[in-house]
Amino acid sequence: MGRRPRLFTDISIAVSCLVFLVATLSCAAPPRELVILTYDSFVSEYGPGPKLAELFEKQSGIKVTWKAKGDGGQLLADLALGAKDGLTTKGADLALGLDNFLEPRALALDLFQTYKPKDLGKVPAELRIDPSNRLIPYDYGWFAIIYDSAKAKKLPASLDELASPAFKGQLILMDPRSSTPGLGFLAWTRSVYGTNWEDYWKRLAPSVLAMPAGWDAGYGLFLAGEAPFVLSYTTSPAYHKEVEGSDRYKVLPLPEGNPRQVELAGILKGGPHRRAAELFMDFIISPEAQALLPTTQWMYPVRPEVALPAGFSAALKPAKSLEPSTEGLFEAAPRAVELVGARARQP
């Protein structure tokens, strides 16, 4: 009879200590931090994320937390969902990794705060695609079809030839609904084929081996040898040349030209660390941060004065740079996927 109360007291003391400990730990929030939403490859160990965060913390004392759940299209979808349910993107200050193809939809969602970073005047005017300065450019590049010179038996001379039976099951694309390269490719074909783009996609469908949700998975499949052609960037061969000393992967020259992608970042309305977010926006277009981009992100920095590594000579600055229209692009993405699905390869 005497034992039970003592055990009870012991347990309640232990539990209260535990509760107190948990409460203190969760209240002890870091003093200056920033939460940035981005896409997967940006925060991989070879990507720019960790290095940028390190440099930013050294300069400003603010700690950056990156959150990535997929490719660029997924990022936008999360932002849209967060706007509706107030939950998915709670606590996030900044979104980084949208691009010119997603820009109309991103702006239409009215999620971003206008802010003019310090050095914005030094960025060339043709890259500053949002006049309201809600989305700021930080790098750019061109989409391209990359081929494996060791595995590709024949090279198509045009986008049109890529859709011929000779290239059945040889192309890896990305899902335009969730991936920025995927959407960029759709825009590319829409600008080349105009109103006949659906017909082109019907013809292209048998050539598509896989259409994973993100660029990472797709490019990884390409490197594993699953298919000899992949949708990627003109700078991809530069990466292999610089890091692996390999000339194996090359840009497929196409007469139709290559679409330009400008990557954008924006401060989210209602983010808790507004001042820190503004400092980061100043930082991302500063020369020091921009200098990190070429060898980590493998895209061209928006600041023209930043020196490019030698490896970038392998990258084709395309003969013809396209700026495809984004009119009705977002709505066309599910239709494109449907067209590929309708003619998917059967064993």
């Binding site: 997924q74 709670k90 998975a217 594993a224 998917a344």
Partner: protein
């Protein structure tokens, strides 16, 4: 004395009420989803969605790949069932215990193994190219419907083997021999006697394989042909990528209706067949394989090794590959483990998994005991209760609960996983308790113990090994679940299956295998512990 007989609670109106409550609980997420559709023209909107080609295509492909997968499962499972029920051979026990695999080896790992083993740059192709000096990879299975069916069929074949093999073994040789002695040919005896007796187990196995593949999520995400999706992945994309609640709700309704219709058909078929078959007696004695049977057995074992063991072993060994392209790996390396542990993602994932899988297993087992105890003699209600949740998609369940309790987080996850595992626990407890004699409990009651005390003190103790078994099973099910945490999207929470999935998506295969290995170990560990206690059979756990 009559007052103590047969548990008043069990006979009264409580069981049907429980069933209703349970059905409501299982349908609640779907209803939540439907309720968010614009009230104004809900019916019209849903009608439009259902008429859309996209919906029809998703359902159509879902049915196609589910049917194909079931077929593959039968193709691999039936020969195995024949062998394990007729012959004794080394490795037989192993083959039979493989039946635990579909539930303890998470589907996401099967997808991973498949890519590593069967891919154009995969291990099997590399081996074949080397052996036959080919310059093109001979097998092109990835991202085709056939490849998807192969992966899912392989995942489910152990179930076919176990269910049909078990029933076949119990079929006494006497009946067919009697028919033969009366002049019936071998085929005639088989078709007329063995097949009807095996039919219930065949139907059960096929329906499990079919439903599993119909609702398959992560595997279709990873291995699906480009641009094609089944209803499950399409619902997820509609919710996550397009924010289209209306279309998702419509598709979810269509999907559940289709699954219910199928379940209904299968239950009818199985009832009808069961009535006509009487499987009794100790069954047949096993012989050593002789004559033509031996080379066929060896051939079968070889095919199994290539198709089934290959992917598994790829995952188990893949974590020691240094380079990204596993086929070109020379030396074992711990680089993948190093990066996962130093980045803390693996220890954190393990902790997250344990944090949710243990409570949900506990909860599921408790539910199993309580409801199993109450429903032990009400077979019809029990079957309905256990089967109904199989008709509601995991994506819809998670999405629906997320709408109802947006801030729920881990608690909602635990509840969902417990409710998902509960039907299995309920079934196994019910069949275990039903087989107990009434006397010890009645004796306890007559000595003054209250009903609960009698239950816990007497009956529970007798079925303790089985209860632990089903707890281990519930744990494996919850630990391997990738769908629910993915759809719930709890911030800063990444259990092992999600870590594996993310690493697959980032094409970091060695690390994915490392995480997968840890996941396989903790799921499998529970089963090893169970088998070590004296081999309680899978059929007991499922209450078959």
């Amino acid at each position: 004395m009559t007052r103590l007989r047969g548990g008043g609670l069990r006979r009264g109106p409580l069981p049907p009420l429980l069933l209703l409550l349970w059905l409501l609980l299982a349908s609640l997420p779907l209803l939540a989803l439907l309720s968010r559709v614009e009230a104004g023209e809900a019916l019209g909107a849903l009608g439009r969605v259902l008429a859309q080609e996209r919906t029809r295509r998703a359902l159509g492909f879902g049915l196609l790949q589910a049917g194909g997968s079931a077929l593959v499962a039968l193709l691999f499972g039936l020969p195995g069932a024949w062998f394990v029920s007729h012959y004794r051979f080394p490795g037989r026990r192993l083959l039979v215990s493989l039946a635990a695999l579909p539930f303890s080896f998470p589907p996401v790992l099967m997808a991973l193994g498949f890519v590593i083993w069967f891919g154009r740059g995969g291990l099997l192709n590399a081996a074949l190219q080397g052996i036959f000096s080919l310059d093109e990879a001979p097998l092109r299975l990835l991202y085709t419907t056939g490849g998807l069916c192969l992966a899912q069929g392989l995942y489910n074949f152990p179930l076919v083997l176990d269910l049909v093999g078990g029933a076949w073994k119990r079929l006494p040789a006497r009946t067919t021999e009697a028919a033969r002695s009366l002049g019936a040919g071998r085929t005639r005896a088989f078709l007329g006697i063995s097949l009807p007796a095996l039919a219930p187990s065949l139907v059960e196995a096929t329906s499990y394989a079919f439903l599993f593949s119909f609702f398959s999520f992560v595997v279709v995400l990873v291995l699906g042909p480009p641009g094609l999706s089944n209803a499950e992945t399409e619902i997820w994309r509609l919710l996550r990528l397009e924010g289209n609640l209306e279309a998702a709700a419509g598709l979810a309704l269509a999907q559940s209706a289709t699954a219910l219709a199928l379940l209904g058909l299968l239950s009818l078929a199985s009832l009808g067949l069961a009535r006509n078959s009487r499987v009794s007696g100790e069954g047949r004695a096993l012989m050593s394989p002789r004559g033509a049977a031996l080379p066929v057995l060896v051939g079968y074992a070889l095919v199994l090794a290539l198709a089934f063991l290959g992917p598994l072993v790829s995952v188990l060994l893949g974590s020691f590959a240094g380079r990204r392209s596993l086929a070109a790996t020379a030396l074992p390396s711990l680089a993948a483990w190093g990066s996962l542990v130093s980045g803390a993602s693996l220890p954190r994932a393990l902790a997250s998994t344990l944090l949710t899988a243990l409570p949900s297993a506990l909860l599921a087992t408790l539910l199993g005991l309580l409801l199993g105890g109450l429903l032990r003699h009400r077979r019809g209600i029990l079957d309905a209760l256990a089967n109904f949740p199989l008709a509601v998609s995991a994506v819809v369940t998670a999405a629906g609960w997320r709408l109802l309790f947006p801030e729920g987080g881990i608690v909602v996850l635990i509840l969902i996983q417990a409710l998902t595992a509960a039907p299995f626990a309920i079934r196994s407890s019910a069949s275990a308790l039903a087989s107990l004699a009434e006397e010890p409990r009645l004796a306890a009651r007559s000595l003054g113990a209250g009903p609960l005390r009698a239950f816990f003190g007497v009956e529970l103790r007798s079925i303790l090994p089985l209860t632990l078994s089903s707890a281990a099973f519930a744990f494996a099910l919850s630990a391997g679940d990738a769908t629910t945490p993915l759809v719930l999207g709890i911030p800063d929470f990444e259990p092992l299956p999600l870590l594996v999935y993310r690493l697959i998506g980032a094409y970091r295969y060695p690390e994915a295998c490392a995480a997968g290995l840890v996941l396989a170990l903790i799921s499998g560990l529970a089963f090893v512990a169970k088998e070590g206690r004296g081999g309680t059979k899978e059929e007991d756990v499922r209450g078959a």
